[in-house]
Amino acid sequence: MSILVYTENWEGKFKKLSFELVSYANEMAKQMGTDVVAVSIGNVEEAELKSLGQYGASKVVNVSDAQLANLSNAPYAKVIAETAEKEAAKVIVFAHNNAGKAIAPRVSVKLKAGLVAGVTNAPSSYDPFTVKKKAFTGKAFANVVVKSDIKIVTLAQNSFALVEDAKDAAIEAYAPALDATEFKTEVKETNKVTGKVLLHDAEIVVSGGRGMKGPENWDVIEELADLLGAGTACSRPVSDEDWRPHSEHVGQTGKIIAPNLYFAFGISGAIQHLGGVSSSKVIVAVNTDKDAPIFEAADYGIVGDCQKVIPEIIEAVKAAKAE
């Protein structure tokens, strides 16, 4: 028996997210009296694989088949399902991100394992297996019972803290039997923005809405973001009007984020926008309209003009940093 975690790597390195998943799995393993096995697909060096032991993985299954260099949903699902069977996994943990959403549903069907997506807490009960997840796009939570023998969860971002529990993880190579004909998708071109903080990774997000009045006024948002090592985001009208790329749109139909600190500048706070940001730990709102709904969701607020207030925030942050 085991708890299996799919630990994604980015150019050979694990991120905080991967360690959060291992911590989460370790909490379950302790309650269920079993061990955590991580599965890594890609080109990751042994020392990096070993680092998963820091958070409680007792074994890391390492799959480094060159055919798996790019995400291809069906072969990835096959490899993970095979590993789950080999390791007699009772629970399989994925991140609720692009890769997790792509692979977990296929593994669910392969193993006839009930899937709960966007889980926010460790199980509240192990028999019946019950987990809490986000529902109605941030407006509610649901407690979901999984009835199948094997369970799959995808863990929502920033919902489980890192807990160290150092183990000497054994590294085991696994070479799956994969035929070239199983690869029916082919990556033809990759476009990556480099040098910017990724929205999903960002601890702080600086976001602008229509109250910013035009794309030419975004300099101050970018300056504040640079100063704080933050990601930049925007509301839906801003991306719809092409002031900013749609990849920056946060909200119900855009990206759902949960940073430690979210700045909403000139965002009125429509219910659809709040659905995408309400899990942020601290929300700061600046808006000229004192009755804007954003102030009901915010922890700190200023009624004022963003063009005047943001430069002052920048100065105050610089002063605070200098202290």
Binding site: N143, T185, T190, V284, D299, I302, I313, E315
Partner: protein, 247 residues
């Protein structure tokens, strides 16, 4: 080539969410129902592709798992421009159950498009599960799609960027924002025509759901927002640093 859109019937995005029966069921009282926003974008893009295909794409069909109450939403899909509709007559119990039902009708299609999640249960699972049931490739987080001479290229979001991916049909595209700019709004002519378009009802197949939504809860009410004077921005930064410990 034929395209199938998996259409989910969801509460309007402005709905104030409430529960009944000791928090065991979503309160449908007074709720307006709409096409799941991502499914609506998928349908719009499918129609654009069909119109530009010079006949290579022969039809766009919508399919929904649900009782008669979902038909108005399906008719809206027809009014937007889908050619026909298939309703699978069953209560959508969970993602696995819904995907298994859709697999029965999706077998006959070359391109299947599903929204990356439904705005009610946020499962993010039906598209991928459907592909696995059909044993066909799937591409997730799809924010662009083109079909030229039978070759399909999709754009998928990855962390910090995007990839162009070639994929062999039949396949399932799990669609997110960006696939098209704005969802199409039905015109009066479309609404009139939709009444006459075929809406076929098929019986459900026997499948067991693997999960059960037992209870619901609403988020804890937030403490009141602490207002800082616009002439005293330094205080805000001070509070963020020392009180919220967020800086």
């Amino acid at each position: 080539m034929k395209i199938l859109i998996c259409l989910s019937n969801v509460p309007d995005t402005t709905t104030k969410v409430k529960f009944t029966g000791d928090n065991t069921a979503f309160d449908k009282t007074g709720v307006q129902w709409i096409i799941n926003p991502w499914d609506e974008l998928a349908l719009t893009r499918a129609l654009e592709i069909k119109e530009a295909s010079g006949g290579a794409i022969s039809s766009v069909t919508v399919a929904t798992v649900g009782g008669t109450e979902v038909e108005p939403t399906m008719r809206k899909g027809l009014a937007i421009g889908a050619d026909d509709a298939i309703r699978i007559d069953a209560d959508p119990k969970d993602a696995y159950y819904v995907a298994a039902q859709l697999a029965e009708v999706a077998k006959d299609f070359d391109i299947v498009m599903a929204g990356i999640e439904a705005s009610d249960y946020n499962g993010s699972a039906v598209g991928g599960m459907l592909a696995e049931f059909l044993n066909v490739p799937s591409v997730s987080s799809v924010s662009g799609m083109n079909v030229e001479g039978g070759n399909v290229t999709v754009t998928r979001e990855i962390d910090g960027g995007s990839e162009k991916v070639g994929v062999e049909a039949p396949f399932v595209a799990v669609v997110q924002k960006g696939i098209t700019k704005e969802p199409r709004i039905p015109a009066m002519r479309g609404i009139m025509m939709a009444r006459k378009k075929p809406l076929k009802v098929v019986p459900a197949v026997e499948v067991e759901a693997l999960t059960e939504f037992a209870t619901y809860e609403l988020p804890e009410p937030k403490a009141a927002c602490k207002m800082v004077d616009a002439d005293n921005v330094r205080e805000l930064v001070d509070l963020l640093k020392n009180e919220a410990k967020a800086l």
